[in-house]
């Protein structure tokens, strides 16, 4: 019992995902919105591992999602003719996605993590845009035309299988990745890694002089967060949309959406990105339905108001409220 107690904070998160999943499956026409909410929650959680825990702002985060998407698309377009692979093809794609974005994060991390604050943010924007233009410039991986895999998926899984894959299984994968991200976040928070990251977020120089090898822990968080982003990109983009275009995949506004989600829910908390992600999806979807075309115009002032009025986010406020009550064990 004692050993299980430390997993208690996962309970509300998984309960939440479970309810969301059931809601999406049982109510007519709600599967896509539920999947969107799960996508944003997963994105927020993956980003939170790095941004929330270290306080570093990676403004080019979407590059890792894009590389994951390319990892999946390349795997499928290279191996789709091999019949016996079947479902393993998707697994291979997921592994490739994690490897692709992981590799980029090692390269970027080794270089850019030496920089701090605004310099780091600008450097990561540079990586994102530079990589995109490199792909288009040297016409690598389809150049600016991207990779379209819909016909290849049909060859590999049949017409019905392919459509089921992109309308159902891709979203299920996103739910699973979100669950994985929550688990990883909690494990990190309760281990040395979490303590080290908290220390360096508060004061990096002090943490260093206490003997914490900050570069190592920053890199761990960075790679984890990027690999998760790659998985999200591979499933929520490549499998679901069946294409990857560089102009879409490297679009900076996904990074900003991820930041909004993390701040909205509360940076550095376990529940925060889940709450933030679902709230953001509801806001965006709801505004899109009620005021088509104007959702961003309405969303921008809301974002500004949140930043000015509640900088710690919803769960951040909640966390200080439940301190000392029974709920304390559930919300971290």
């Amino acid at each position: 019992m004692k050993r299980l107690e430390k997993f208690l904070p996962l309970l509300p998160v998984y309960l939440f995902y479970g309810l969301l999943f059931l809601f999406g499956r049982s109510v007519e026409g709600m599967w896509q919105p539920a999947a969107l909410a799960a996508f944003y929650a997963a994105l927020g959680q993956a980003f939170n591992v790095f941004l929330g825990m270290t306080g570093y702002v990676d403004f080019g985060y979407v590059a890792f999602m894009a590389l994951g998407a390319y990892g999946m698309a390349l795997t499928i377009s290279n191996f789709y003719t091999i019949a016996w692979l079947d479902g393993w093809l998707i697994l291979m794609g997921l592994i490739a996605a994690a490897l692709f974005s992981g590799a980029l994060s090692v390269a970027v991390g080794a270089i850019a993590l030496r920089l701090r604050g605004a310099y780091f943010a600008i450097a990561t924007v540079g990586v994102n845009e530079g990589f995109r233009f490199l792909l288009e410039g040297v016409k690598l991986w389809g150049g600016s035309e991207g990779i379209v895999i819909s016909s290849k998926l049909r060859t590999a899984f049949g017409t019905e299988g392919a459509s089921e894959l992109s309308t159902f299984w891709a979203d299920v994968f996103v739910f699973l990745i979100a669950g994985l991200a929550a688990f990883v976040t909690l494990r990190y928070m309760q281990s040395r890694i979490g303590y080290a990251l908290t220390a360096l977020r508060e004061d990096e120089d002090a943490a260093k002089s206490m003997g914490i090898y900050t570069t190592k822990y920053k890199l761990i968080a960075f790679i984890t967060s990027s690999a998760l982003a790659g998985l999200i990109g591979a499933t929520a983009w490549t499998l679901k949309l069946t294409y990857v275009f560089p102009a879409d995949a490297f679009a900076i506004h996904y990074t900003v959406e991820a930041i909004v989600i993390v701040i909205l829910g509360g940076a550095g908390t376990l529940m925060g990105p889940v709450v933030g992600g679902v709230l953001y999806a509801v806001l965006k979807y709801g505004l899109g339905v009620t005021f088509p075309g104007l959702q961003l115009l309405i969303l921008a002032p809301i974002i500004l108001a949140i930043i000015v009025l509640f900088p710690e986010g919803i769960v951040g406020v909640l966390k200080t409220r439940v301190q000392g009550t029974v709920l304390q064990k559930f919300i971290v």
Binding site: G55, A121, G126, E129, G130, G137, V138, K139, A300
Partner: protein, 283 residues
């Protein structure tokens, strides 16, 4: 190369804001878009040339900057980068979407015919570009004089170097923040106005993104918090852009436009790594 002067001016606004408030304005391009629209409407409705709308753009930009400062930025001067980056990005989205709401998503343009300057053996340069070069240099010079000689200009420099020290010396730091943010945004809008002298077409609500990124590269090139470095780095960047476009165009199998962009960001990373204070940095 002449475009470099406008690049320089647009980056001065960015560097001024970063230098004083330590805020990276990610909504930079959106403010330039506002400037371009000002030039467009002034020309289209009143028949005023973009040269005459320079002071209008500056005034409008400063008012806009002051407005955003009072509402948002004033409360974030000590906040983490995360918040300020998001705040400026949201401001950018707000401007872009308002522009689209008011004027629609179409591409607009105008043609301002002022003749050409003939330099027979070298090139033929439209006079509009010469005007842009001259006026942006004048603005930069005025700014330089204000910075070096003006009382409030010196105060801005003092705050840039040491916030606390300036406060101890009796400078109202909050007012300097407001002033620099307004002037920074004013310059940005102004440069958007001048930009239309080079590229009078393609004015649309989302035109700013490219310039935001270019301004980042130039700002880093010149040292992030140095408006002077930024102005000269603008010229340098104009040269690099043209040069690399020509060179990459010679290599078969490459897409020169994208490669030029790639090269710019590659440069950005290299400079951040080896000389974060910029090419003209003193430290």
């Amino acid at each position: 190369m002449i475009l470099g002067s406008v690049y320089g001016l647009m980056t001065m606004g960015l560097s001024l804001i970063f230098g004083v408030l330590k805020i990276v304005n990610v909504g930079h391009g959106a403010f330039m878009m506002v400037g371009a629209y000002i030039a467009y409407w002034m020309f289209h409705l009143l028949g005023l040339s973009p040269i005459i709308s320079i002071p209008i753009a500056l005034a409008a930009g400063m008012a806009l900057g002051y407005f955003f400062f009072q509402i948002v930025i004033a409360k974030l001067t000590t906040a983490a980068e995360l918040t300020t980056l998001l705040a400026t990005f949201a401001m950018g989205i707000l401007l872009e979407e308002s522009a689209r709401f008011l004027w629609g998503p179409d591409y607009r343009g105008f043609s301002w015919n002022v003749g050409r300057l003939m330099l027979p053996p070298v090139a033929i340069i439209p006079l509009g570009k010469i005007y842009a070069l001259i006026s942006s240099s004048i603005v930069a010079l005025l700014l330089y004089l204000w910075f070096k000689k003006g009382r409030s200009g010196s105060a801005v420099r003092a705050v840039m170097e040491d916030r606390e020290g300036a406060r101890v010396c009796g400078i109202n730091v909050g007012r300097i923040y407001a002033l620099s943010f307004s002037v920074g945004i004013g310059l940005t809008v102004l440069s958007g106005n001048l930009l239309t002298l080079f590229v009078p077409v393609g004015i649309n609500p989302y035109m700013g993104g490219v310039y935001t990124l270019k301004a980042f590269v130039i700002a880093v090139l010149g040292g992030l918090s140095s408006p002077w470095g930024a102005f000269f780095a603008g010229f340098l960047f104009g040269l690099i852009e043209n040069g690399s476009y020509t060179i990459f165009g010679l290599v078969p199998g490459l897409e020169p436009f994208s490669m030029t962009q790639f090269f710019a960001f590659f440069l950005l990373l290299m400079i951040l790594l080896w000389k974060p204070t910029g090419l003209f940095g003193t430290k």
